[in-house]
């Protein structure tokens, strides 16, 4: 009781325990859900999600700040805790059901936060027989650098890669890579551009013969944007090279320095996997009499610490391993007739939290209803 009295007097707690605040938060979530859903038509799914649901606030008409869903849910989270502290502080058996419901709702908000900040989606495209221990992002890019090293088997490439995201790069930004004796300076960077061949008199090097980059408008589908830029590499403060890197290049740019061969490429961001995944066989069944795929599945081999196991991934049977889930996403067949399987890779540390939250909330509801039923019978 003393604790309740003490905490109820706290002005911060008093403000955040307001039921009016709960109503306003729920109303704002309703507005944001409707607005964000409609805005997808104009801005595309990705941009609408970032603006309305992932942001803390955004500007309407360019100057009016409006709270984003993340901010609203933070306030709702604090509101729920303060309500639990001030209104249900008796901890009597009569209110246990409501307390558990509130705990479930808090868990929902926590799971949303964990999913937002620690989960990511990527894909893995493998031909039959190929294996890889990294997956690629759908539309986040990185600059990856590695030193060439002798490979025992020409078909097995093992590289120690140093990479950094390009999303926040700005002109004149200097990025030191001390363990490689390199320093990279961003001279120009475009989030979407087109590459042209042309005269090489500007002495800017390129792996693909690109002479210049032309910036273009950012498209609302982020996977259609191809970034590029001009970067200056300073090797151990001696050699200086200006290099064009473009997201559409298949090969890295290689250069020598201090007796080493460096390779650098601008590519879709790579996420390391906890094991190496090999595509053993890909099977596709078509609807009779058509070319349309009915079902397809991938037999994969998981290679980990000298141990192997096989798993069949099909459209309704993904591969699950700790925080990772591998879904059969799509497939492709190239001009040579080689079949590739595309697996969607989802890493989500909080993947069990929604289930736990649902169970806790359900349990709270059941307890509350049973408690109310018993009380009404007694009355």
């Amino acid at each position: 009781m003393k604790f309740k009295k003490k905490i109820s007097k706290n002005r911060f707690v008093q403000f955040f325990a307001s039921i009016k605040l709960t109503v306003i938060c729920l109303f704002l979530l309703y507005i944001l859900t409707f607005w964000g859903t409609v805005a997808q038509i104009q801005y595309g799914l990705y941009q609408a999600q970032n603006q309305f649901f992932h942001s803390l606030f955004f500007l309407v008409f360019g100057f009016i700040p409006f709270p984003g869903a993340q901010l609203v849910m933070w306030v709702l989270f604090v509101n729920l805790i303060c309500v639990a502290l001030t209104r249900f502080i008796y901890y009597s058996w009569r209110q246990i059901g409501i307390l558990i419901i509130h705990a479930g709702l808090l868990l929902f908000l926590i799971s949303g936060y964990v999913t937002l900040h620690s989960s990511h989606e990527s894909y893995l495209n493998l031909k039959e027989g190929q294996a890889s221990n990294v997956s690629a992002a759908y539309h986040d890019w990185e600059i990856a650098i590695w030193e060439s090293s002798p490979q025992e088997d020409p078909l097995v490439n093992k590289n120690h890669v140093t990479a950094f995201d390009v999303s926040g790069l700005k002109p004149d930004q200097v990025i030191p890579i001390k363990h490689l004796d390199l320093q990279l300076t961003v001279k120009k960077f475009y989030k979407n551009c087109e590459a042209y061949t042309g005269d090489q008199s500007n002495k800017i090097l390129s792996a693909s013969g690109i002479g210049r980059l032309e910036p273009t408008e950012l498209l609302k589908e982020p996977e259609k944007n191809t970034p590029g830029g001009i970067f200056q590499f300073n090797i151990n403060k001696n050699k200086v090279l200006d290099v064009i890197l473009y997201g559409g290049e298949a090969k890295p740019f290689s250069f020598q320095g201090e007796g080493k061969t460096y390779n650098v490429i601008l590519r879709l961001k790579r996420y390391p996997l906890p094991f190496t995944l090999k595509l053993v066989d890909f099977k596709k069944e078509e609807h009779p009499g058509t070319d349309m795929a009915r079902t397809y599945q991938s037999l994969v081999e998981i290679l980990m610490d000298h141990a192997k196991r096989e798993k069949l991934i099909s459209m309704n049977d993904p591969l699950r391993y700790t925080d990772y889930t591998f879904y059969q996403s799509s497939f492709s067949i190239d001009k040579m007739g080689n079949e590739s399987s595309v697996l969607a890779v989802v890493k989500n540390r909080g993947r069990l939290l929604p289930y736990i939250s649902t169970f806790v909330t359900f349990l709270g509801l059941v307890i509350h209803f049973v408690t109310m039923a018993i009380r009404s019978r007694k009355d």
Binding site: K20, F57, P67, L71, N159, D165, E194, Y196, N338
Partner: protein
């Protein structure tokens, strides 16, 4: 109600600004990881006429058993020589080549003279890809030209310029500007070339206004004649 709305609205904005200030900062974080990729020897569907088609039937004797796919240089040579769709060309001096990242286009070009803008694309398709008349009909529809009768169309196709590339492949140059009046200088138009190869067709299509494509016709012709398969000799 208005009082509460204003109060809570200010609170939201303050919390948001606070988090924005605390969260700002642009340190580029370096990540390090081990990347492993295991490739497989390339599988090819070779035409019987391909000199390498016999490889699958090679006797495993002392002479031929050394030609294994573990030899990186040999593998690279084989890949280059039998890869369909690997083409080389010479970009005309007054054009710029734009690097293509995906899709069916092998390359696209634009001219440096922005007063007469054009776009040219190179696409390679396996098989006969519909035939010349069918493609001409489709292209005419793309630039909003009335499609003539089959007889007129066949006469038109027969009158088009016939060429040969450096490697002896047959080329037909389809000039659709002939269907337009001289007064329609700014009307969308097209000149395209179809290169017939044994098991594929290469389409080189130039689009722009009528006066622009006419001005760039010689450049298109030089590009088309320079197209050859990678590794082939002149």
């Amino acid at each position: 109600m208005t009082y509460y709305l204003k109060y809570y609205y200010r609170l939201f904005i303050c919390l948001g600004m606070l988090n924005f200030l605390l969260g700002s900062g642009n340190a580029t974080e370096l990540r390090q990881y081990e990347e492993v990729f295991i490739d497989v020897p390339q599988k090819h569907k070779m035409a019987d006429s391909d000199p390498h088609a016999f490889m699958g039937k090679m006797p495993q004797d002392d002479i031929h058993s050394n030609l294994n796919l573990g030899d990186k240089d040999l593998q690279a040579q084989l890949n280059q020589s039998v890869a369909p769709g690997a083409l080389n060309w010479v970009t005309p001096n007054n054009w710029l080549e734009k690097k293509e990242t995906s899709g069916m286009r092998l390359a696209s070009f634009m001219n440096k003279d922005t007063a007469y803008p054009i776009e040219t694309t190179i696409v390679s398709l396996a098989g006969k890809a519909g035939g010349v008349s069918a493609n001409v009909t489709r292209w005419m529809q793309q630039i909003k030209l009335a499609v003539p009768s089959m007889e007129e169309l066949e006469n038109f196709v027969n009158q088009q310029e016939k060429l040969k590339t450096q490697t002896g492949a047959d080329v037909i140059l389809i000039d659709l500007t002939k269907w337009q009046k001289e007064t329609e200088a700014q009307a969308p138009s097209m000149i395209a070339a179809i290169i017939e190869k044994e098991d594929s067709q290469i389409f080189v299509k130039m689009t722009g206004s009528r006066e622009s494509v006419i001005k760039n016709k010689d450049s298109l012709r030089s590009l088309v004649l320079s197209i050859q398969e990678a590794g082939s000799q002149k």
